[in-house]
Amino acid sequence: MTSATDTTAHVDGEHHDDHHHIPKGLTRWLFTTNHKDIGTLYLWFAFIMFLVGGAMAMVIRAELFQPGLQIVEPNFFNQMTTVHGLIMVFGAVMPAFTGLANWLVPMMIGAPDMALPRMNNWSFWILPFAFLILLSSLFMEGGGPAFGWTFYAPLSTTYSGDSTALFVFSVHIMGISSIMGAINVIVTIFNMRAPGMTYMKMPLFVWTWLITAFLLIAVMPVLAAAVTMVLTDKFFGTSFFDAAGGGDPVLFQHIFWFFGHPEVYIMILPAFGIISQIVPTFSRKKLFGYASMVYATASIALLSFVVWAHHMFTTGMPVAAEMFFMIATMLISVPTGVKVFNWVATMWRGSLSFEIPMMFAIAFIVLFTIGGLSGLMLAITPVDFQYHDTYFVVAHFHYVLVTGAVFSIMAAVYYWLPKWTGKMFDITLAKWHFWCSLISVNVLFFPMHFVGLAGMPRRIPDYALQFADFNKWISVGGFAFGLSQLIFLALLIKACRHQGESVSDQVWDGAEGLEWEIPSPAPYHTFDTPPVVK
């Protein structure tokens, strides 16, 4: 989105046909077709899931505080790891991005709502049910899924408990939800842009979501197929993943990672979009290299389809395949680097100020890059033989996911929250939240690199003595980071009760784009008649 935008803002508040009342009570949320309501639902759901998944991480960290088994049994530990991963990925990060898309995409492109509002409601409401099923399976006899979020066969087939059936169907529902959500985003962007909002004028958040949505529609069905094969292998006697019947356990990994790798970019591309919105605002300068940002995003998405086997270097693929996947994976650094350089160039010779969203964005750039660089190291096949399935990998993906995806979501919430509620959030609390999170998250995840390199495998409930010192620090960092999120919770509750000072329509003095030209708080219905973008 560019500063050249000028709108004839048609805001619903000024409209006469005022049959649009805001419904009240529970049914407002159950039956809603309003993109802002649904966005709010998604965001709160994601946050609750973040707390639940985080609580499981706390169990993991408490058990790993010291060597020896003290708090949980190994089998339960594995369930915690598995469900923590699943919840954070499918329950926290993805729905949070979908929530942001719901709130922002229509406002950014000047649309009255999402293209398919009822389907929008449906794709949200099936999610809580899916997670209800997943979580309740933890209480079944034999426990819930304990095979890692990657559910490699045959641990998830022949050797798993009954709850696998429920796991499979709950993943199916999550998939349906994501696909419907993604279709909605794509159709909205293709078909609902205000007159004059050409593709190359769309804000980058819209662009990155467009490409993310494409990835989602392309790979979620593959995940559905993978769980389906797990189901038939476990319960109906097929042998896709069983050598005795002519199948191969590694086939499962190929199918899973064909989904799984694009999935990790699904969790980072919208983050790139968010950062690309925030950095220019607080640099008071146009985004550097808009066009190359778009092309870089598209290249990352396309490359993401041909790198999946970098998760499988130790499975015994032929050398030629290992070589191919190593090189393809390394290539992804180039477009990602373009993004990082563009952000830095945007800040360069700007007029920087450091409000909360900007602090999170800067933390994102630094910490995500650290995570990306460790990813690059993982891509080097011969060395990955040493890194694979150790805490080095755990460190890598928490840097890109927690200080990457999650930090970007927090940045986004701080950035747009005043627009949503019309009030400035509690800045003191926000500062506490930022600094506590920033410090503790590094105490939490940085030493994981060391224990990983020193040889600590992942997914173990107990470890050798030489890892004890660092693990203690990791756990302390973990508890501190968890507690820091309670500050965020308090801040959000205050914000939702509309406490705080009223803000102007533009909110941040460098902010540009359609969403900043409508009143704060954003009216229930915006752009009933589309604005004209010049």
Binding site: L166, I179, P221, D248, L251
Partner: protein, 292 residues
């Protein structure tokens, strides 16, 4: 966007159907999960009933939701832009279905060209064959698995070939039905649509017959990857034909009620796209599963 005249985009008021649909999916998932467990072990439970309840609720939801939608459409609330949204939505939905089948075709490719070959000692797996499966010889179709399970090949001539013909013809008849609709030739529309539905049903009947035949000659779901890929691919395809046929039947009744105009007939278009898509999947399936 060349949108000369502004048409208001119809944003529906609140609706109860999505949440009903969410409950339906919940019941279906819980039911299907528990039913799977119960059916494959000797546990007792309510899985089957929950599943059926879910399907009933889903049906109610579909009827209610579509009724809503049809009423809105008939009362002229829709704009061109909205029809475009529906069409694009349907197109992307079909794309997601394509990817679902791609995964299964991928599994077929892998089983056939990689895992079976490797078990037979190809690539970097000489020792796999020599040490673990010394008696195994790689062939496709895999009639004797490494574990010693045997099955029989399903030829492409006969039933499958007839079925291919049926589906291709049905695509053509559906196309003529569509042309009939666009040119406002209602008889052509009715007859052609009915023929298509009939062909769909015959296809399904023959498919069922083929399955029985397969089980009789020893090609079963659990007889190794050849049987696995055969049944899962044809099975999911068959489910899609069933769904497509149901859609066509619903369309037929709507046509009897006088819905659709030569210009406004998104539902018909969506149904026919779906049918053509199912048809294309079959062609891929016929070549990859049966012939080569």
């Amino acid at each position: 966007m060349a949108q000369q005249e502004y048409q208001k985009y119809y944003v529906p008021e609140q609706s109860i159907w999505p949440i009903v649909g969410a409950v339906a999916l919940f019941l279906i998932a819980v039911g299907a999960g528990n039913y799977t467990i119960e059916a494959t072990s000797d546990k007792e439970g309510f899985g089957f009933y929950t599943l059926m309840a879910g399907l009933v609720v889903l049906l109610v939801m579909l009827v209610g939701w579509f009724k809503n939608q049809i009423d809105e459409s008939m009362s002229g609330l829709y704009s061109d832009q909205l029809s475009r949204s529906y069409r694009q939505g349907m197109a992307w939905f079909i794309f997601s279905e394509v990817m679902f089948f791609v995964a299964f075709f991928g599994a077929l490719f892998y089983a056939r060209n990689i895992s079976v070959e490797w078990l037979g000692g190809a690539s970097n797996n000489a020792m796999t064959n020599a040490v673990l499966w010394p008696d195994f010889v790689a062939t496709w179709p895999l009639l004797v698995t490494p574990g010693g399970e045997t099955s029989t090949q399903m030829g492409w001539y006969g039933l499958p070939a007839i079925n291919t013909l049926i589906l291709v013809v049905s695509s053509v008849t559906l196309h003529f039905a569509h042309v009939g609709l666009e040119e406002n030739k209602r008889t052509q529309l009715n007859v052609m649509l009915l023929v298509t539905i009939l062909l769909g049903c015959i296809f399904l009947g023959l498919q069922a017959y083929e399955y029985i035949h397969a089980y009789n000659i020893g090609l079963t779901l659990d007889s190794g990857v050849y049987g696995n890929t055969f049944f899962l691919l044809t099975g999911f395809h068959g489910l899609h034909v069933t769904l497509g046929t149901i859609i066509l039947i619903v369309l037929y009744f709507r046509i009897l009620k006088g819905h659709f105009t030569p210009k406004e007939h998104f539902a018909f278009q969506a149904g026919s796209w779906y049918w053509h898509f199912v048809d294309v999947v079959w062609l891929a399936l016929f070549v990859l599963v049966y012939i080569i």
